[in-house]
């Protein structure tokens, strides 16, 4: 716990100078100092994370915080569904701050035309979703830049960090398009675009250093005007999650309870882990990262089909490990992706495979990839001429799995709860399971799970405890809403709450049913609407219920309600959005365009938040 603490200013006498320049009047400064003085180390850690979180969810997050400062040198804009984009944007800010460069971090959603026109350096972190789609928060900017309203950007220097997943065909497509369009609008590329796969850390770190260094070189006069308040607020957000993917907390299992009834077609688990003594803190809406580990049997099968000794040392990234360890902890040996097949075909000189990856054979390739794991590839196409070092290079890193946290620390201190769908399927004659969900579902007895908190400030409760909430969370998407309601109950929040839930069967798939009923009885949950798709002749989903309850839902929105959507990004979130648009159109007597603007405005006000995956 030593090192991260050092970046927190000591509240004692040595900080007097610091407080003198703090943006508080003397009375308030005294009160805050007094208050901070009463906190122990853990409480300070928690509070710093809390403050950083509430800053991040207030729009827009701008820095420097020092009053009267000039326009910042660097504009950092992020757009991603997960917290990764924001986390990287903050990393850039830290790097800039370390060199005395002023900056502003903003969610792309808040980035308007004038921001582009006034910026000198623009650093963009953006992810790609589905079939090359921009994330929701990037869409307005993306559309602006591709419209006739797009500004000339001759004054601007920029660079793009593109986040993606190479198992999708349109890998990093949004980043590529932003990059190309900035250039087309006259901006000058400060540094080449960098594309990151699911294991983005190393590539992203290098890009951050390179772009910030380039800006520092061009602006030597700025160096040294470090603002203490800058050094304070941001890093603390990282400190609050001292456990990271690389340094996870081994959280003891408390409960592994199946939630779905005996006739269910699904196996959904309620997992409770202890984080007592970890110093970990989270807010409702945050996610828990679970460090993955491939199943021993799966690793053994791969090793058997390879002509290498399991204990052979190999280099993965900058670390060395045995082949067995690398295959167990670091490399994705599950579903194949295009780059893996390409690289494998290349490394083994396999012509049939190479043919499959040629342009124009996308459909054949997708058919081949469907349900195929590494083990299938190795068995079908022997690794002729392949070295162990080649193999570890061609495989993708094993990505951690993020789960929306289903609990509130205020209601369940020292615990973190997850709602995990244990997906198993049969493919090519074998039973397969999700790497992490399978491991979590099998947790039993006196065991631990390696975890860390992934903050998700774009999906937090409103700051006002009186604000009404509309929560739309079918399936395991309901998890954060259990956290929201538990939090609101624990804090005595008076805002009205409305939940939309859906799944397949009322009798067996109604996740946390008895808890919702209890909260409804106590008056905490004012409304709950449910949709079960396989109970009747017609398939009913949450979007149908939203439209059926349109009049009342619109009235809630007009009274200041915040809408949260969590769950499937492929079809549920767009279907829900269409339903919301229809509700606003119909009950707000608006045109389609006006309804879209209405929802966009809600997003800008952080009253329409999504956590979809």
């Amino acid at each position: 716990m030593g090192s991260p603490l050092q970046s927190i200013p000591d509240a004692g006498s040595s900080a007097t100078a610091l407080w003198a320049s703090a943006p508080f009047d003397a009375a308030l400064a005294g009160e805050v100092q007094h208050l901070v003085g009463r906190l122990d180390v853990g409480q300070k850690l928690w509070l710093s994370g809390y403050l950083a979180g509430s800053l991040a969810s207030a729009a827009p997050v701008a820095k420097p915080a020092v009053a009267g400062a000039a326009r910042p040198l660097i504009t950092i804009a992020y757009g991603s569904h997960s917290g990764n984009g924001e986390q990287l944007a903050q990393r850039i800010g830290q790097a800039a701050n370390a060199r005395g460069l002023s900056f502003v971090v903003m969610d792309m959603l808040d980035c308007r035309k004038n921001h582009l026109q006034e910026a000198k350096y623009l650093l963009v972190v953006v992810s790609t979703h589905g079939e090359g789609e921009p994330p929701d928060h990037a869409k307005p900017l993306y559309e602006l830049m591709h419209s006739r309203k797009a500004p000339k950007l001759d004054q601007l220097q920029y660079s793009v960090l593109a986040l993606g997943d190479s198992s999708y065909a349109m890998f990093c497509e949004t980043g590529r398009r932003f990059d190309a369009q900035f250039e087309a609008l006259g901006a000058r590329r400060l540094h080449d675009r960098v594309e990151c796969d699911v294991d983005f850390q190393t590539a992203a770190d290098q890009w951050v250093e390179a772009v910030v260094e380039a800006i520092a070189r061009e602006n030597p006069e700025n160096a040294g005007v470090t603002s203490p308040s800058l050094a304070l607020a941001r890093p603390s957000a990282t400190i609050a999650t001292a456990h990271t993917r690389k340094n996870p907390f081994h959280a003891p299992l408390l409960v592994n309870q199946r939630l779905t009834g005996r006739n269910s077609t699904k196996d959904v688990r309620h997992i409770e882990l202890s984080i007592e003594g970890s110093g970990m803190h989270y807010e409702p809406g945050d996610a828990l990262g679970v460090v993955p580990r491939n199943q021993d049997a799966e690793v053994a099968a791969v090793l058997e089909s390879l002509p290498f000794a399991p204990e052979l040392p190999v280099e993965v990234g900058a670390q060395s490990a045995t082949l067995r360890d690398a295959l167990t902890h670091q490399l994705d040996i599950g579903l194949l992706s295009r780059p893996v097949v390409e690289r494998y075909a290349e490394a083994t000189g396999n012509d049939a495979l190479r043919q499959l990856t040629l342009a124009g054979r996308e459909a054949d390739l997708q058919r081949y990839l469907h349900g195929r794991h590494l083990i299938d590839l190795l068995r079908e196409h022997a690794p002729a001429g392949l070295e162990a070092s080649d193999l570890v290079k061609l495989l993708r890193p094993l990505a951690p799995r993020l789960y929306s946290i289903a609990s509130s620390l205020r209601a369940s201190p020292d615990e973190v709860h997850l709602t995990v769908s244990h997906v198993t399927y049969e493919s090519l004659g074998r039973e397969r399971a999700g790497v992490v969900s399978g491991a979590l579902a099998q947790l039993d007895g006196d065991v631990t799970a390696p975890v860390y908190v992934q903050r998700n400030p774009a999906f937090h409760l409103p700051s006002s405890s009186d604000a009404p909430l509309i929560m739309i969370g079918p399936g395991t998407g309901v998890a954060p809403f259990r956290a929201f309601l538990a939090e609101r109950e624990a804090t005595g929040a008076r805002g009205r709450n409305w939940l939309f839930f859906g799944d397949r069967s009322f009798w067996s798939d109604f996740l946390y049913q008895s808890e919702w009923l209890e909260w409804r009885k106590r008056g905490l949950l004012e409304r709950i609407d449910v949709a079960f798709s396989r109970d009747g002749a017609e398939k009913i989903y949450v979007q149908h219920r939203i439209q059926q309850r349109g009049r009342e839902l619109y009235a809630w929105l007009e009274s200041g309600a915040h809408i949260y959507v969590c769950g499937d990004a492929q079809s549920m979130a767009p279907d829900v959005e269409r339903a919301l648009l229809a509700v606003v159109r119909e009950h707000g007597a608006r045109s389609t365009e006006q309804a879209e603007e209405y929802l966009l405005q809600l997003q800008r006000e952080r009253r329409y938040q999504k956590d979809v995956y």
């Binding site: 309870q257 199946r258 009834g261 946390y512 049913q513 808890e515 709950i528």
Partner: protein, 572 residues
């Protein structure tokens, strides 16, 4: 005479059992049921409403076997409903049978249950199907109102109206009584049948009033010499007095009933007391007055003491006779002579007085379902399609295929055989006389298994019966999962009443014709102990019995148990 202190209709509402307030405030049984049925977030209805739906023949239950598993999974219990049909006299047309059979497969658990009150029960009806289910029954010309609740229940009668003119007259009386004593509330039609609200009368229930009866009220009619209905076991029993093939009137029995609570001596089964005789034309009036006497004098403070049997026990039969004379305008006449032979059914083909034939089919515990090698439900469906006539239910959970012309018999025999459901000649008299309530997993009161367990227990007792050479001896054996008495256990020669999973009280010594209660022989014993008891008693009975002596009479004569002459002694 001085009356023991009891809370009655005359007492302030707030001094009565909470159910009285509930009924009073329910707007004639409407409660919040409409809202509860429309709530999609739970498979249940409000707790208060579950008391009210009973009056509509609907009990909320849950599958007790998955209750704990679902609690841990944070799912509510697997709520479902039992729906009971009102079927006075136990008679339905074969067309109605087909409709109920289809309804069971569409919106219930795919089986039918024939009950000891001569009607149908459906199990496993989900809330979302409840209205459709009830409406399907109504579309078949039947209904479910007053099949449960604090009202007059399904009126039962010695089976098969086609047996003789007297049977027909008794059945018709049962049906008239059932209709006459129906609750009149529009709540049933509005909420369950979704019919438009009628203009409500100030008092929708001229007979019952807003708080209905203190508890359930049961009427039975027996046509001697058969006592299949166990006429002594009901609040009001009528024994038909037949002269020259005509019913001239009825002996009136008051204050019978089965239910009790283990270890509470103030609760006990009681046989009806003979109060007199009424002429056939007065039977409706006598029934109504009896029910209203209970309405006015029944104990509304303690539901465990609210049945008419306790009113009679506390106030006496003479008091009842005086009260009846006041209301009727004349006293009941002295009781006439009668004679009962058996409380069992007569199995197989029997010729009626008009030359038509009637086949009484043994249905183990009344459960109509298809099982491997024994397609009872399908078979009866085919028979009901072939035979356009009447199916008569018996109060021993059996079925009579009634009014069959001689020419049709071979085809029905063929179907019975084809489906493996004909009465098995090798069945012992014990099995033919066996009866069980539903109990686990749906009945909320059950403390032990009953319907699912009795057949296998009878298999084991049958070995003892055969070893003793008693396979043709009629012996009644009845099992219930709790002491409330749905299968009328206290009138069985051998009774097993559930105490805990796998544990039963063993009662012995009731008469074979239903006019004497049994008595506790062993308490809280398991299967091995039950078999041990019978292993010594059955051979003794085979060797020592007197000609024509029943097992129940034998164990009393042999002083295995005492003769239970009054219900009040039952738990002493």
């Amino acid at each position: 005479m001085s009356l023991p202190p009891r809370k009655t209709l005359a007492s302030p509402l707030d001094e009565l059992h909470p159910n009285e307030r509930l009924k009073h405030d329910s707007r004639y049984l409407r409660g919040t049921l409409e809202h509860g049925l429309a709530d999609p977030v739970t498979g249940a209805i409000a707790a208060d409403d579950t008391q009210l739906t009973k009056f509509f023949g609907i009990y909320m239950q849950d599958d007790r076997e998955v209750r704990e598993e679902r609690r841990l999974a944070k799912l509510e219990p697997l709520y479902q409903f039992m729906v009971r049909v009102r079927l006075p006299g136990g008679v339905c047309t074969t067309a109605q049978w087909l409709a109920l059979d289809a309804q069971a497969r569409a919106t219930a658990n795919g089986t039918l249950r024939l009950t000891t009150r001569q009607t149908f029960q459906f199990h496993g009806v989900l809330k979302q199907h409840l209205r459709r289910h009830v409406q399907g029954i109504v579309a078949a010309g039947l209904d479910t109102i007053a099949a449960c609740g604090d009202v007059n229940r399904n009126v039962i009668c010695t089976a098969n109206p086609l047996q003789s003119a007297a049977h027909a007259a008794a059945t018709e009386t049962a049906q008239r009584l059932g209709t006459h004593l129906l609750p009149r509330t529009g709540g049933y039609r509005e909420v369950m049948l979704e019919q438009p609200a009628e203009v409500a009368a100030t008092n929708e229930e001229p007979l019952y009033g807003p708080t209905y009866l203190p508890r359930k009220f049961k009427i039975a009619i027996a046509v001697p010499p058969q006592n299949d209905v166990d006429v002594y076991a009901h609040d009001l029993g009528f024994i038909a007095i037949v002269e020259a093939g005509r019913i001239v009137g009825y002996n009136v029995l008051v204050g019978g009933g089965m239910g009790m609570t283990h270890k509470v001596p103030a609760t006990f089964p009681r046989l009806g007391s003979l109060a007199g005789f009424c002429r056939a034309e007065d039977v409706i009036a006598v029934a109504e007055h009896t029910m209203l006497i209970q309405r006015d004098y029944g104990d509304r403070g303690d539901r465990g003491h609210a049945r008419f049997k306790y009113t009679i026990e506390d106030l006496g039969v003479d008091w009842f006779r005086e009260e009846m004379a006041k209301r009727l305008g004349r006293p009941l006449e002295p009781a006439r002579d009668f004679h009962f032979e058996s409380s069992g059914d007569r199995y197989g083909w029997i010729e009626g007085e008009d030359g038509l034939w009637h086949y009484t089919l043994f249905i183990e515990n009344g459960r109509v379902a298809d099982t491997p090698g024994k397609t009872l439900m399908s078979g009866l469906r085919e028979i009901a399609t072939l035979h356009q006539g009447i199916f008569a239910l018996t109060t021993n959970q059996n079925l009579i295929i009634a009014g069959v012309p001689a020419a049709l018999r071979p085809r029905i025999d063929a179907l019975l055989h084809q489906h493996g459901i004909e009465n098995v000649a090798s069945h012992t008299g014990l099995r033919r006389g066996s009866m069980a309530c539903v109990a686990m997993p749906t009945c909320g009161l059950a403390m032990a298994e009953s319907e699912r367990y009795l057949p296998s227990l009878v298999d084991r007792i049958d070995d003892l019966v055969r070893a003793a050479g008693l396979q043709q001896q009629e012996i009644s054996i009845r099992m219930t999962g709790c002491p409330n008495g749905c299968a009328r256990p206290y009138l069985a020669e051998i009774a097993l009443v559930g105490k805990a999973p796998g544990k039963y009280n063993l009662y012995l010594g009731a008469s074979a014709n239903g006019d004497r209660l049994n008595a506790l022989h062993r308490e809280n014993i398991d299967e091995t102990q039950i078999l041990d008891e019978l292993r010594s008693l059955l051979p003794r009975f085979a060797q020592e019995r007197e000609p024509g002596e029943s097992f129940g009479d034998f164990v009393v004569r042999a002083k295995v148990v005492r003769a239970m002459l009054a219900g009040r002694d039952f738990q002493l």
